[in-house]
């Protein structure tokens, strides 16, 4: 029976190319399931599959009078950009998937989105926030992470309200596409405040030793440290600032802080670190398939055995955006679906999904802080939330 079906499918494919109706809709993705980015990559792999299972369980995607199932064709790019590009070429040219979901990280998205554009297959990705991804005039790439240049905006807003107000800032950032975009945006944003940048340093993405930078920061006695980097670097940064007894009034990080892994690795030393998330699993975020964000987080934890963070929520939103767009276009024609994606506007467990002219959504970052081992939201789009612990006590006085 199965053979007969595949024979039938093969024949239709031969005769008509990709069957327009009567076949499941394939979403292709190349994700970092192994390699140095596997730690974050797993959110995408798991969340894509979870969302697709949930949507299929609810009946699938409605096209005309029929309902089609979604199928995920996922490849492991082993955290290698070049391999991920080859895999996306394979997905569109050999596997002939209908649509593309993205990998994690801006460097990957920058390279992979070129494939989507070249073959005119829409890609919705929740892994690349760098402004560079959206500044090339591409028509087929959409993103559900807020722009990298805005990442520290809410943190700076919070800092403007703290007493005693921080006056000097050290800005450190890794030399990849995402973190450079963050730094460019942050530099501009700091320029609009009364705070001054005392140290502005770019470091190599694989750095594990921050002692020189920390010594410099210490000698300048800066009030606040903002770091745009990767979780491994941020873990080392915090550990080494403890060993060198560097005591700013606050430090804030682009990534890492919201993940449970981060708190587990640092234990008590994670306390007082500020971070940001575009997503808080709140029951107020309603979703067609998961109920709401809180229910999603609980189900996700149960199924995969670890807490989801905004990467996972963003990945679910990518799949849902495809469903909405395909249903609105009433077709799986790539061009029609692309236009429908540009027009989607719906509420999801991740937030409101509506793409701007360049294909990116805008979501405010909520500032979070680790307080006594728990993640506490301290500043959101509507202003202060729970009380921020500031200034942070010196390492010797904790």
């Amino acid at each position: 029976m199965k053979q007969l079906f595949s024979l039938l499918l093969a024949t239709t494919t031969l005769l008509f190319g990709k069957p327009l109706l009567g076949a499941p809709i394939e979403l292709g993705a190349s994700v970092q399931l192994t390699g140095q980015f596997a730690n974050t990559g797993r959110y995408y792999g798991d969340a894509y599959q979870f969302a697709i299972d949930k949507i299929n369980a609810a009946g699938g995607v409605k096209i005309g009078s029929t309902r089609e199932k979604l199928v995920l064709k996922m490849l492991d790019n082993q955290s290698d950009v070049n391999l991920s590009v080859r895999q996306y070429v394979q997905l569109v040219s050999q596997d002939k998937v209908n649509f593309l979901l993205g990998p994690f990280a801006s460097d990957f998205v920058l390279a992979d989105s070129a494939i989507a554009e070249k073959y005119s297959i829409p890609m919705i990705q929740g892994g690349g926030a760098s402004d560079q991804v959206f500044s090339r005039g591409y028509k087929y790439i959409f993103g559900t992470l807020p722009p990298a240049s805005d990442y520290f905006q809410s943190t700076l807003d919070l800092m403007g309200q703290l007493k005693p107000a921080p006056k000097t800032i050290a800005l450190l950032y890794a030399d990849d596409a995402f973190d450079v975009s963050v730094a460019d945006g942050t530099r501009k944003a700091i320029g609009k405040t009364s705070m001054k940048i005392a140290v502005d340093q770019r470091y190599s993405s694989k750095a594990s030793d921050f002692n020189s930078m920390l010594s410099l920061i210490k000698s300048q006695d800066v009030d606040a440290i903002l770091v745009a980097g990767h979780e491994t670097e941020i873990l080392n940064f915090i550990r080494q600032s403890k060993t060198l007894n560097v005591n700013p009034k606050l430090y804030a990080f682009t990534v890492g802080v919201p993940s449970a892994d981060f708190r587990a690795a640092l234990g008590q030393d994670a306390n007082y670190a500020f971070g940001m998330t575009s997503w808080v699993p709140s029951p107020a975020l309603k979703d067609d398939y998961f109920g709401n964000a809180e229910q999603f987080a609980a189900e996700y934890q149960k199924r995969f055995g670890y807490e989801p963070d905004y990467h996972a929520a963003s990945a679910v939103a990518d799949v849902e955006a495809f469903v909405k767009a395909i249903e609105a276009a009433n077709s799986v024609d790539p061009a029609k679906v692309r236009d429908a994606i540009a027009r989607v506007d719906f509420d999801s467990l991740y937030g409101r999904i509506r793409f701007n002219a360049v294909g990116q959504i805008s979501l405010p970052q909520t500032v979070v802080q680790v307080q006594k081992g728990k993640l506490v939201p301290v500043y959101g789009p509507k202003g202060a939330m729970e009380k921020a612990l500031y200034p942070m006590p010196a390492w010797g006085k904790r």
Partner: protein, 287 residues
């Protein structure tokens, strides 16, 4: 001035750890003529051994160090006995490829077994430090530095002043002559590789205390160890210490005065220059 002093201290302490990381690589390279590309992966395993001994059995990382070394010694011995001895007389390129393959396999298995989660070995004194002549000295880094010095010295003693050590060096210098004197090269190669792996295990233990651990730290550490080995030269284990300290100080100064994004460019740039100007290392005899 104060800052420069602090940076120099940072560099020296970092250099000690670097030297220990490279020590095992240099031993295996010098004696077996194998550039062990899986060396970093062995360091990573040492770090995980320490992590599990610390979190599972509550062993202090410095107490776990000999155990981690023993575990890695056994693993290294087996790798040499069962894999590398089969190709020991093959061209260097083959052994390079084999150790490269081993690195990939070990890393993959580590991810399956340990997961990609980031770990740290965080004893209560991990953040302790003291002031010395105006510079902040992190305690664990100083201890790590001491262990690195001690092991380098011990290796030198072992190679220069014990019968087994002399046999190892003799095998490296002239295999036929060593055989005539009753040395069993297979056994000796496995012992040497085991010692190299044990040193990687020690480096990994200390690395876990000062840094974070994940299954992918290996390849970067191999690269760094390789640079130190070239800069210091392969002649004597003491030279590794010089190579490590040199690289540690240069990296610390580069990060401050040129920019942290250039540290790798500078350290591997020095590697290239050394290979051109003094191919036997900074202290090695020139040909």
């Amino acid at each position: 001035m104060q800052l420069l002093w602090q940076i120099l201290i940072n560099g020296v302490l970092l250099g000690g750890l670097y030297a220990l990381m490279a020590l095992g690589l240099v031993l295996v390279w010098g004696v077996l003529n194998i550039v062990n590309l899986a060396h970093g992966a062995l360091i990573m395993l040492g770090a995980y051994a320490c992590y599990y001994l610390f979190t599972g059995f509550g062993l202090d990382p410095f107490g776990a160090l000999p155990l981690a070394m023993a575990l890695l010694f056994c693993l290294g011995y087996l790798i040499q006995r069962c894999v590398l001895n089969l190709v020991i007389r093959a061209p260097m390129f083959n052994t390079l490829l084999i150790t490269f393959g081993l690195e990939v396999v070990i890393t993959f298995l580590a991810q399956m077994i340990f997961s990609a989660d980031f770990r740290t070995v965080n004893p209560s004194y991990a953040g302790a430090n003291f002031l010395w002549l105006g510079a902040t000295v992190p305690l664990v880094r100083l201890l790590a530095f001491g262990v690195a010095l001690g092991l380098t010295f011990a290796l030198w003693l072992f190679l220069d002043h014990t019968a087994l050590g002399r046999a190892i060096r003799a095998t490296a210098q002239n295999l036929t002559a060593a055989r005539l004197y009753g040395v069993n090269p297979r056994q000796l190669y496995a012992l040497t590789f085991g010692i190299g792996a044990a040193l990687a295990g020690a480096a990994g233990t200390l690395y876990g205390v000062v840094s974070q651990i994940n299954p992918y730290i290996g390849s970067g550490l191999t690269g760094k160890s390789f640079a130190i080995a070239i800069i210091g030269g392969l002649d004597k284990s003491i030279y590794v210490l010089v190579g490590g300290l040199f690289l540690g100080i240069v990296e610390a100064l580069t990060a401050l005065y040129i920019g942290p994004t250039y540290t790798d460019v500078i350290s591997f740039g020095i590697l290239v220059v050394v290979l051109i100007v003094r191919p036997t290392g900074l202290l090695g005899r020139t040909a």
